[in-house]
């Protein structure tokens, strides 16, 4: 009897279902070490100018080659100017970094979408757009927002420069297995034009904290997620790293397959791949997650960050909390909230809608895709931005820019006195000339409100594209649900 019991336990153990993450992980194990990590194969390696020079230099010093240039793609996005592309780059150190990437790609035989390419853009915008990002694959890039590609059901990880070198040389990475974390998004938004994917992910981070996902891979599930378009799903997965997660992903469905159909680098045998993805790429019903969180979105409001990390966020209808309310008894968090309010020059109790802004940035790998610009343009159309505000739109890629111009969005923004720029990371991290001056306050569609992120002394409030557009018009934050969104 006892033995039969044991056998049953063993059998159940064998048969236990797997999460989508575990399936992708398992199918990419090249080797495993007794003492910890697994050697994971990398299907796609995306490279940019800022985190790769030292990696290529390492290859040269050790006389190593790039193992799979055919699985490696590069672009320049972090420090490229977004003004006239015909002019030379004035910042000499940026110019050197860009030339270095050009030389490295030439020397090692890597496909590069350079500054003059029609396909140049933020690496996490062009990957999906070109059909390089595929479901069920492993994707890495020397950039933490690589998690964006998880929207396609890929395991997409941000890595450091030493790992970039490791992948260039071996097409593999040693990784400790993260734990699967289920985030269920339940319900339906009443006004999906005003309450966006950005508000969903900011609400999640506000609730679980900026380290709530540490050591995990998040799978976003539920109707609130499946209802989202591919571009909206990318916004959600993009900010997984802001919750501390190693990656975030969403099981692929017909929307995913349709999005990738017929793109420039979509594989020739795409339909047969789709058949196998449809059968395999989902979490089994009896799979176990090690951590769970549920967000109900029926009544969520547009979100605005008030502090210096993305967890310091509240509803647009609320006032800034006191450090005591925010920290709920954690002394470290309380100190950090006090410091944040001081840096942001804000006081507890101030209504979010009373905060005046100087700048608006619509851009970044979080929110600079066509749909983001289209939604923001509906707010802007026929209006002028507040005379006290300087506002810019930086499309996520040259392709997004062209598509937007075909729809006439550039005119709508320009007529309202927005600047309409060339693509790049721009003021999300301020490595190019697009930066805030000390003390300036910005409504930004980017992903990080860290001290000095958009320029030394600059103050960042994270919001959705429609909230940013509305703030540009009014000169302060407003509840976009009260505006006519047609």
């Amino acid at each position: 009897m006892l033995l039969a019991g044991y056998l049953r336990i063993i059998q159940t153990g064998i048969k236990m279902g797997k999460t989508l993450f575990e399936k992708i992980w398992q199918s990419h194990i090249v080797a495993e070490r007794q003492d910890g990590p697994a050697l994971i194969y990398v299907d796609r390696h995306l490279v940019h100018e800022v985190t790769s020079p030292q990696a290529f230099e390492g290859l040269r010093i050790n006389d190593r080659r790039v193992r799979r240039p055919d699985l490696t793609v590069a672009t320049m996005d972090h420090n490229v100017p977004t003004s006239n592309r015909m002019l030379p780059i004035l910042d000499q150190t940026s110019a050197v970094q860009i030339q270095t990437l050009e030389k490295n790609c030439r020397d090692f035989g890597i496909k590069l979408f350079d500054i003059n390419s029609d396909n140049q853009g933020i690496v996490h915008v062009i990957g999906p757009q070109l059909g390089i990002t595929l479901p069920g694959t492993t994707i890495v890039c020397g950039d933490s927002h690589t998690s964006t590609h998880g929207a396609f059901g890929a395991l997409a990880l941000g890595i450091g420069t030493s790992d970039v070198e490791h992948v260039l040389a071996s097409q593999t990475l040693w990784l400790e297995k993260p734990r699967p974390f289920e985030i269920r998004v339940k319900g339906k938004r009443k006004n999906p034009h005003a309450v966006t994917a950005k508000d969903i992910i900011l609400s999640i981070i506000k609730n679980i904290g900026t380290d709530g996902g540490t050591g995990t891979v998040i799978e976003y599930r539920g109707q609130g997620v499946t209802d989202l378009s591919m571009e909206q799903r990318m916004t959600v997965c993009n900010m997984s790293i802001e919750a501390g997660a190693r990656a975030g992903l969403i099981a692929p469905d017909e929307k995913t397959f349709e999005y990738l159909r017929g793109r420039k680098y979509t594989p020739d045998d795409y339909e047969s791949l789709v058949d196998s993805w449809r059968d395999n790429l989902r979490t089994d019903s009896d799979a176990k997650f090690e951590k769970q969180f549920t967000l109900h979105i029926d009544d969520i409001a547009p979100q605005v960050s008030w502090g210096t990390n993305p967890g310091m966020t509240c509803d647009v209808t609320e006032s800034i909390p006191s450090p005591d309310e925010f920290s709920k008894g954690n002394s470290g968090q309380k100190k950090s909230a006090e410091k944040a309010l001081d840096y942001m020059a804000l006081e507890s109790g101030t209504a979010i809608q009373d905060i005046k802004i100087d700048r608006v940035f619509i851009g970044s790998c979080t929110n600079a895709r066509l749909e983001d610009l289209l939604e923001a343009s509906k707010i802007v159309k026929g209006q002028k931005i507040s005379p006290s505000v300087r506002a810019m739109v930086v499309p996520g890629s040259q392709m997004v820019k062209r598509q937007a111009e075909e729809l006439g969005l550039d005119k709508i923004f320009l007529d309202a006195n927005f600047e309409w720029r060339e693509s790049g990371c721009s003021m999300c991290l301020g490595m190019n000339p697009d930066i805030l001056s000390p003390g300036e306050r910005c409504a930004s569609t980017s992903n990080r409100n860290f001290e000095g992120r958009q320029g030394t002394g600059g103050r960042t409030h994270l919001v959705s594209p429609v909230m940013a557009a509305a703030a540009a018009i009014c000169g302060h934050f407003v509840d976009v649900r009260e505006m006519d969104l047609r």
């Binding site: 090249v30 080797a31 003492d35 910890g36 990590p37 050697l39 194969y41 299907d43 985190t51 020079p53 030292q54 230099e57 390492g58 050790n62 190593r64 055919d70 699985l71 490696t72 793609v73 972090h78 910042d91 150190t93 970094q97 270095t100 496909k111 020397g142 933490s144 941000g158 450091g160 420069t161 030493s162 790992d163 070198e165 490791h166 040389a169 071996s170 097409q171 593999t172 993260p178 380290d211 540490t214 050591g215 501390g244 190693r246 680098y265 594989p267 045998d269 990390n309 470290g332 968090q333 100190k335 950090s336 991290l429 490595m431 000390p438 990080r448 860290f450 992120r453 030394t456 002394g457």
Partner: protein, 196 residues
């Protein structure tokens, strides 16, 4: 990259009592444009260390002469969150820190440490706070996995593989290339087509 094998370290502990220190604070983006790994130390915590005129801010702990030659930094929860920039680790190391002690670390930063011979140690929050308050001389012995202060001996955990990498200063890529046969075998079975 071959690393310097990690030896015992005896140093005063620098207390940085902040949580959620992100890599943008450790090394601001205007200093990411170098194309080499060295020379980042002078930019470490730049906006906290210097005022607008680039004078040292007297209230920042790194500007306190007591900690001038410290090799051990004790910090709050979720250290190294945000950007994956390895420049953060290069800056800490170049400045002189080779041990970082915290109640928790962000994943990418934690992994980046081991690639550069920096030892990140996770301890209970109360223990980290005690080390911060004492801010005295301690000895960190990776081989024995202990931190010895005048008042106590603290044990810490570390994965066997990561410990070996640090102690022997192994070139991880050279180690991985020994798996050439496994990698080639995997590639033969792989269904995923090339990009180009």
């Amino acid at each position: 990259m071959t690393l310097r094998p990690f030896k015992k370290i005896t140093s005063i502990v620098t207390p940085l009592e902040k949580v959620n220190v992100d890599t943008d604070q450790i090394i601001p983006k205007q200093f990411l444009k170098l194309v080499q790994r060295s020379g980042f130390g002078r930019f470490l915590f730049f906006d906290w260390r210097y005022d607008k005129q680039e004078n040292k801010r007297p209230d920042f702990v790194l500007n306190d002469l007591r900690y001038e030659n410290s090799e051990i930094l004790a910090v709050g929860d979720n250290f190294g969150c945000g950007s994956s920039r390895e420049h953060a680790v290069w800056a800490l190391l170049d400045y002189g820190f080779s041990v970082i002690i915290a109640p928790s670390f962000a994943d990418i930063f934690f992994s980046n440490c081991f690639k550069n011979g920096v030892l990140p140690i996770i301890l209970e929050q109360a223990t980290v706070e005690r080390l911060q308050q004492e801010a005295g001389m301690v000895e960190v012995d990776l081989e024995c996995q202990t931190i010895t202060s005048p008042s106590e001996v603290i044990h810490f955990e570390i994965g066997t593989y990561r410990k070996k990498i640090l102690l022997e200063g192994l070139d991880e890529i050279a180690q991985t290339l020994l798996y050439e046969r496994d990698i080639s075998e995997f590639e033969k079975k792989s269904m995923i087509p090339s990009v180009l």
